[in-house]
């Protein structure tokens, strides 16, 4: 391992001994971060699991008010965006800058689509009073404590939505920086990290979709 700082690329930080070490560190750090994300969402999954086990009928009745078509469309949109994200990394690995940008833009657009659909779903529920806690005023669901289902729904999809939003900001920044020539097949850590994050967001949705829309 070389200790000299000369002839090192610009992206190298002084306390790493080589680019490989730096990249590996970033990746490990990112995975640890993802782990905290999983556990953060995990708390909400526990919330869901406990209350579903307590009120199975109510959950079943309440899930029927969700729109499966919209949910399924959103699932497909998000999965597709995950594919394009993965492809953008592949492109930068192959040093195809234009293609990378193109894939990133597609990802961003798909994420936007997801948010728009989500917006319409929320809008509808707000109108009907299918809201968490004190704001719950809907009366079309049978069972006890129906507002808890909607609390879980809004919390989980809401936290997920915030993550999608953050992801969109990151991807936007990536597009900008890729255009500016920051990344190449030699150095694309940021794209890779954002990709990991984006896939995790997708992965969480993969569970949210059946839990809320399909089986309740």
């Amino acid at each position: 391992m070389s200790q000299s700082h000369t002839n090192q690329p610009a992206f190298m930080q002084h306390h790493f001994s080589d680019a490989e070490q730096q990249r590996e560190s970033a990746k490990l750090g990112m995975w640890l971060f993802l782990l905290t994300e999983i556990l953060l969402f995990g708390g909400l999954f526990v919330f869901y699991a406990i209350y579903r086990a307590w009120h199975p009928e109510m959950f079943h009745n309440a899930h029927k008010v969700l729109d499966v078509t919209m949910g399924a469309t959103n699932t497909i949109v998000l999965i597709t965006s995950s594919i394009t994200m993965a492809l953008s990394i592949r492109s930068i690995q192959l040093n195809k800058i234009k293609q990378t940008i193109w894939f990133l833009v597609t990802t961003l657009l798909l994420a936007g689509t997801f948010m728009v659909i989500k917006y319409f779903e929320y809008e509808h529920k707000i109108h009907l009073g299918q809201l968490p806690g004190h704001y719950y005023t809907y009366t079309g669901v049978e069972g006890t404590n129906q507002h808890v289902f909607f609390s879980a729904y809004f919390l989980m999809t809401g936290l997920h939505g915030i993550h999608v939003f953050v992801g969109m900001c990151l991807i936007g920044w990536l597009i900008f920086k890729t255009k500016a020539g920051m990344f190449s097949s030699q150095y694309y850590t940021h794209i890779e990290m954002t990709g990991l994050y984006w896939h995790l967001v997708d992965l969480i949705w993969i569970f949210l979709f059946p839990l809320f829309y399909l089986i309740g």
């Binding site: 556990l39 526990v46 995950s82 109108h127 004190h134 704001y135 009366t139 059946p210 399909l214």
Partner: protein, 146 residues
């Protein structure tokens, strides 16, 4: 990329893998929606979760490169799931097993306070009146505004 002299040269997967995995994911989405239209009773949850887990594993293994990367990341990823599992399972040893010894109802005695003022009318336009009622009847509402 043919030139592989650099140590940090990335491991590039063929396009077919991404597209293949992507199609399987979309296909499985369709399957799970279709499956949900049947009632398998207790197995509904199991089936849906099984499909979701397969999908999640595909994303993690291929898109997130866990299959090819340092196995440490896989370990971390799994440990998060394991600890979450521990959390859910042991908590359920409590929540589902209360009142094991007694015949009393170990669950809630009454519904949430908001239902005192919610009229059961399947009419969405009851919105306005029930809202106004529910904000002035419960003490909780008063307390939280402080």
């Amino acid at each position: 990329m043919t030139d592989n002299t650099q140590t940090n040269e990335p491991h590039v997967l063929p396009l077919s893998i991404y597209l293949g995995v992507g199609s399987i994911l979309i296909f499985l989405t369709a399957v799970t929606v279709y499956a949900a239209s049947f009632n398998f009773g207790e197995f509904n949850l199991l089936i849906a979760m099984l499909i979701a887990t397969v999908k999640a594993s595909l994303v993690a293994m291929y898109f997130m490169h866990l299959k090819y990367d340092n196995k440490l990341y896989l370990l971390l990823f799994l440990s998060a799931i394991v600890f979450l599992g521990i959390f859910i399972v042991i908590t359920m040893f409590d929540t589902l097993r209360r009142g094991d010894i007694y015949e009393i109802k170990a669950g809630a005695i009454r519904d949430a306070v908001i239902y005192d003022s919610l009229h059961i009318t399947p009419d969405a336009h009851a919105l306005e009146d029930s809202l106004s009622i529910s904000t002035d009847t419960t003490e909780i509402v008063i307390d939280t505004t402080k």
